[in-house]
């Protein structure tokens, strides 16, 4: 018995895979759309991002003149928009050029490919990351450098979240900020560019000054790197959840429970 299925055909969606190959890219598209959409909305609000002593991580560091006095840095006066927009370029750049997110959105939004062994558009016009704008993905390490500064401010803001008007204390918001910092740190420490710069670029550790230490550092970053996808998702979801929590407290929807 013969079948006329054209198994050698190329073209969008062509595959003889019989499993639900469309489910992972669809889930990623919905997930990234949902959390990316929320973050964009929150960044554009320009209000309800501070509930003393908690500052939303999407607004950290708060460097515009419109920021509340307790957390204001520099106080840039010429900026009329939401203060979060000033820092969004770094955060978007860091996540947008991240090797994991590249895989995620190339598959989910550009369908390039939609899934492994599934046909796609474009044929031989494909250029990958060889030309503009995609060649700019090579700047990932510069966003990494810039994000170190933001990470330092986030660490400061998290510590600040434990100091209330009456001194040191712990509220639910303090714990939320701490978890957020841990997840963001896990994501940051698993960065592929960091893994390269910290020791991956060394071939001969025993013939390089400080080679053993760099190899240990490389191994440490590799541990986080193996779970980079998980850190990327957990940190993305939790940064939105942290903003939502602080936003609701700032709006007076509920009070932040003080644990001690």
């Amino acid at each position: 018995m013969e079948s006329s299925v054209a198994v050698r055909d190329r073209g969008f969606g062509k595959t003889i895979r019989s499993d639900r190959w469309w489910l992972p890219p669809l889930s990623v598209a919905v997930g990234l759309g949902l959390f990316g959409g929320y973050a964009t909305w929150a960044v554009l609000q320009g209000g309800n991002y501070f509930a003393d002593p908690y500052l939303s991580p999407l607004y950290s560091p708060c460097i515009a003149a419109s920021c509340p006095e307790q957390i204001r840095l520099f106080g840039i006066e010429w900026w009329p928009f939401s203060p979060a927009i000033l820092m969004m370029g770094v955060i978007l750049g860091f996540r947008g050029t991240c090797y994991y997110y590249r895989k995620a959105y190339y598959r989910a939004y550009f369908l390039d490919p939609p899934a492994c062994a599934v046909g796609e558009f474009r044929g031989d016009r494909y250029v990958g990351e060889t030309r503009l704008p995609w060649v700019l993905q090579n700047l990932h390490r510069y966003f990494l450098y810039a994000s170190i500064v933001i990470w330092l401010f986030l660490t400061y803001d998290t510590i600040h979240g434990f100091f209330f008007e009456d001194g040191f204390g712990v509220g639910v918001g303090s714990i939320v900020l701490l978890i957020n910092l841990v997840l963001l740190s896990g994501y940051w420490f698993g960065c592929h560019s960091l893994r390269h710069l910290i020791g991956g670029d060394v071939d001969c550790y025993s013939c390089t000054l400080g080679g053993k230490a760099r190899h240990k550092a490389w191994k440490g970053v590799s541990w986080f790197n193996r779970r980079h996808m998980s850190w990327a998702w957990f940190s993305l979801v939790f940064v939105c959840a942290t903003d939502l929590y602080i936003r609701l407290v700032a709006m007076g929807v509920f009070e932040d429970p003080r644990l001690f």
Binding site: D112, R122, D124, Y126, N138, Y205, S206
Partner: protein, 246 residues
Amino acid sequence: MAERTFQVYRGSDDEGRLESYTVETDQGMVVLDAIHRIQAEHAPDLAVRWNCKAGKCGSCSCEVNGRPRLTCMTRLSDYGEDEPITVTPMKAFPVIKDLVTDVSQAYRNNASIPRFKPRPRDADDGWRMQQYEIDRAQEMRKCIECFLCQDVCHVLRSHGKHEEFIGPTYLVRTAGYSLNPIDVEDRSEFLRDAGGLGYCNITKCCTEVCPEHITITDNAIIPLKERVVDRFYDPLKALVRLVRRR
């Protein structure tokens, strides 16, 4: 013993069809066993490439139900009893006959890689290295050249960039050279230009199909991409190189 139906690709690159065969199957059989039974009982002219039947020679690569796999390592019990099993040749390569493909372009890509270039020998006329610093290169040496990663790579499979892009198999080979502690060759320019590393958009399908579980994307391709960035896209590194040269 249970009967199972297999759909097997028959034909050449220009013209082919799926043909159905029903054979008795035994417990523990793999897809390659079934193909051999089809050859023995129904189609003695069915072409299939195989050798070790132990997942080490990389000869029996095909697509089973649309997924690139070694047929000798794919158990029939991985599929439901009533689920039809379709066996087709690797889509990224031209078909010679039935399940046998022409992978000669991949060997030409291999020949284009700048060879391994060791540093001068140490004082005792050998090369000393520590195990911990050779581990990364040894992971790449596990490659059995089954070409499943080349087959699933969309740059080759869907976009046909065989001439412009050496593909994951040979990026693994290149990483095996470049990560070796005694190698001194700089392959950045080759990787950017003739190797076509920029075509890879790191969608990780190669890692998913590797039967040797080499973490191709994270441990071979991305480190090579970062080395290309060091050399061509990082002005800070360029400045450091300039200062060191002076």
